[in-house]
Symmetry: D2
Subunit: 324 residues, 4 copies
């Protein structure tokens, strides 16, 4: 399947629920997908960093993607991450994702290897030519050193290699220069739908990104509160920026659930992904909060802290006080 309309709106990077054996919990994943779609999201990004793609075997990736595509049931486009070190390896993931019904592919620049802008360009061009699929470049410097420069992205947009960019760089200045280079927010919003979609991975400044002119947002925290991000997005599209900002502030406070794992004991990734999954279990969406090896699980104390954040954000009722 190919995209029938440009990518836009809220496109959460879908978590991959696992069972205690580390296998994909497909029932939980299907429930999560339906909850996201019921909340009004505009697309789904399977097998991203938030989906623990880098932790899953090829077989597990296929299971997860197939589950997302089936549960999505055509209600929204499914983007599939094809995360791997270099071109030949990424191409194998791309073929699988295409066969499983993904609507677009999301690929990073090569990593582990030392690379060069000309090689990054060759990588994307080969992926595009070999698959014929809409291709989104994924700029995530915390995982892939180096950056996709605005100049490189523009060149690959203009020659038709890329259908979009998922920007998780956190560099709002560079993003703004890219957007202005692509015509600016007014032109992008009032003219025909842009052929090149700019998506921001920011969970904490999605309102700012929409003000700057991005077409969509890809917030990991959107797994936990998809309705909140849809409200934020709708307020922004309606030009009600104070309401968008107020919603963003509530979500910024909720984001503290990614920080409950002590820094001395675990990586920030374990704390964040563990926090998302603990929240989804407390909300009754998924059956287990396991994360993939070798991530350290959250303690019960951290999970309780996650629960308090959900309550403060209005997503969970306050627990009953103990009887006096």
């Amino acid at each position: 399947m190919a995209l029938t309309a440009p990518l836009h709106g809220v496109i959460p990077p879908v978590c991959t629920p696992l069972d205690p054996h580390g296998e994909v919990d497909t029932a939980s994943l299907a429930r999560l997908v339906r909850r996201l779609l019921d909340a009004g999201v505009h697309g789904l990004f399977a097998l991203g960093s938030t989906g623990e793609a880098a932790y899953l075997t090829d077989r597990q990736r296929a299971t997860a993607l197939e589950t997302v595509v089936t549960a999505a049931a055509g209600r929204a486009p499914v983007l599939a991450g094809v995360i791997d070190t270099t071109t030949a390896r990424v191409l194998e993931h791309a073929r699988t994702a295409t066969a499983l019904g993904a609507d677009a592919l999301v690929a990073t620049a090569p990593f582990y290897v030392r690379t060069h802008p000309r090689e990054i360009a060759a990588h994307f061009r080969r992926l595009r030519t070999a698959t014929g699929m809409p291709l989104i470049a994924y700029d995530i410097p915390v995982s892939v050193p180096g950056r996709l420069s605005p100049a490189l992205v523009r060149a690959l947009a203009e020659d038709g290699t890329l259908a979009g960019l998922k920007d998780s760089s956190g560099d709002d200045g560079a993003l703004r220069r890219l957007l202005v280079g692509l015509g600016g927010r007014t032109a992008r919003r009032t003219g025909p739908a842009p052929a090149f979609a700019v998506l921001s991975g920011s969970e904490l400044a999605a309102d700012s990104a929409l003000l700057a002119g991005v077409d969509g947002i890809v917030p990991g925290l959107g797994n936990v509160d998809p309705a909140g991000y849809v409200r934020l997005h709708d307020a922004a599209r309606a030009g009600d920026w104070p309401r968008a900002a107020a919603e963003q502030e509530r979500l910024v406070a909720l984001f503290d659930l990614t920080d409950t794992g002590p820094e001395a004991e675990m990586g920030r990734g374990s704390s964040a992904l563990g926090g998302f999954k603990a929240a989804l279990r407390l909300l009754g969406v998924i059956a287990h909060r396991d994360t993939a090896a070798p991530q350290i699980p959250l303690s019960e104390e951290s999970v309780a802290e996650v629960g308090r954040r959900l309550t403060e954000a209005g997503l969970l009722p306050a627990p009953h006080p103990p009887y006096g």
Copy 2:
């Protein structure tokens, strides 16, 4: 002099014009200051990175600051950078700046040396205690490795050590978490003026920063187009976000004047500072476009490119076509 009101609004980091011998061109500097104030800026930041403070001797710094204070003539508060490696050296600059009439001091964490958050806290506390002056922390990771964490900044805000933060990190997510931790934009804008001022160094996303709730902006490009940033700021304060964003987009295009120096031939600092000064000379504000050693000067070709950017942004008339 101490601050009589919280810092807010447009506070450009003032360029330091130099003559061909590398000495401070005080007449040009006074002209620049008056032009900024006439454009409606709300404060002046002397001796910052854009002011080439790290390139100036102590004597030159004093000359520059004295010139800014005199030319400002009390029309707006003057913040003084006290950029140096560690506490004892910064304290000497702080004493000079205080004697010369600065209204507040702007200091980074220690650099060159390897440091620790507890040491950074001790550094700011000692500066505050020894000077009694309002103290702004300057977070600029491109120059000072490491980051001022939101937790550290909040602790130093709450105990009265810091009167503000100048954030040049480009990390909009961390900035948003800090702002929400300080009470959020609504509380900040509707309650009593906040005792702690958050200033963004962003030139390219000042609208986003104001939407997020910052109190002021410190754009280097504000030397060239102060009226543009004042319009952007006023639109944001009036809640006219589309107008703020449109002004921002014009300024993003103008910012291309910082990139005219070829990457193979000079540092990005030389290109940006050279671009600002070339623009100010083309605009007739300063007499020379010299930058401090060992920066490479822009070529005439680059200066012509700067001129074209000024014309496109409506700051210079188009040149006459050559006679046929």
Copy 3:
């Protein structure tokens, strides 16, 4: 097969020759392996960074490893790289490598994901437990951010998780602290063979590493001049340090063949791997100098420069002068 003796000596990371279609050229690879063994190397490291493992599909990796094991024919132990992002993915490579007859596995810490020392330890422990194979930790910060701290390596050596370390960090101070912590060079060379092997990836300071007490060296340049590294190693083992250093200096000059590709046109990886392969083709060892996509190939001019380096190092005769 398991190791019957501790790892030591010269253990080149074997290049993976490719044909013009990007497939493994098994005939060339077998020739390369036999040439290395004939030169007296003490082991072979297949599927390392120099072997372009990160560029090869799983099928290509299996082909390459099988070819090396078969061509080695038991004359020296074969270490197999199992390069992938996280535990579950690495385990799949480990099972394949074990089935194909590798004598030991070489694994990095997790990458792409953000990780923590406790998670790195869990990763190696799970790999060791699940495979039962001798496990070498691969410290290569240029590819895997973060470092394996000497404390972590020692802990994993002492509890039997690791059989060795391949250090490609270039940090000779940290390496020395590790070696002293493990007992020091004298104890290591005069006592019983150490259970934990420290291998240096340095091509440029192998003599220094041997003086510091490493058990073996893993030089990429050893593909091109294995006899040179064997001579260096033998001189060091015989205590003839001036001879070892003289041999090292010749190899440092030869290493210039990794730098013939212009920095403006290609990554340093492409230049280095392209240089090794160009040299091997000029020496008649392999049939093609192709590298894997998306690496940029060396120009003919660069290849000629590689040839000159080989001649200067005494590995190729000087070309005939053109007729006058």
Copy 4:
């Protein structure tokens, strides 16, 4: 005074003892200098990173340098660090150091500012031209981001700008390439004394550096055990590499005194400089172990640990056991 012979041998970066008010303790500093010279060191490096130059005011730097020059009394050349951000500021330190009798200047590339190799070259050339003094480039990436490339250093050596390099990069491969480019160890040791001196800042692999062909070593730990480094150097010069390596191993163990401060409580700089000074006080060389603000002082527990390292290294007698 200018150098009368090329720099070589053991040249410790001299600590700057401070009193409890943070002022230079000149009596202790003179004692330290005499102890170093009595141990046979070949030169003294005042106002380096180990000398806390970045923490000292201009007045304190002058006091420290004057004390070192006076105490040295012409027994060995004195190198003076001129650590500051950019050319004009460094030049002021250079003039003071020259007036106070330094024999050579040691300068880094510009820092805090973003720079470019062409600007670094211009910086050193201007320093050389303006002072006429022998100029040593100081490559210390932990403090000054970026690197002095071997190509840049060679160019500045060949045109007479630089009299030497102090390499604290820890990158033994790059150092080796530079040394081979300069003619190699054999040429350097058997021909006329080289005009360009290569000095290694390594405390942990000084034997390796000498094997590679450096002319001298600049070990911070040499403040504590100068005789040990002189023995190491003399063994290396005599070709007794096993003895040099054994001495190095003893010093590597002693170096653990730089790590007694807990990482959660202080920076690595505070722990290292505090460790050197605690050791010097326990050895009776200096009167106080104060370090400059804002460094965190070592606890008594850490100081006791420093004492144990001195005892293990044979520099302090074992403490009396408590009475039974």
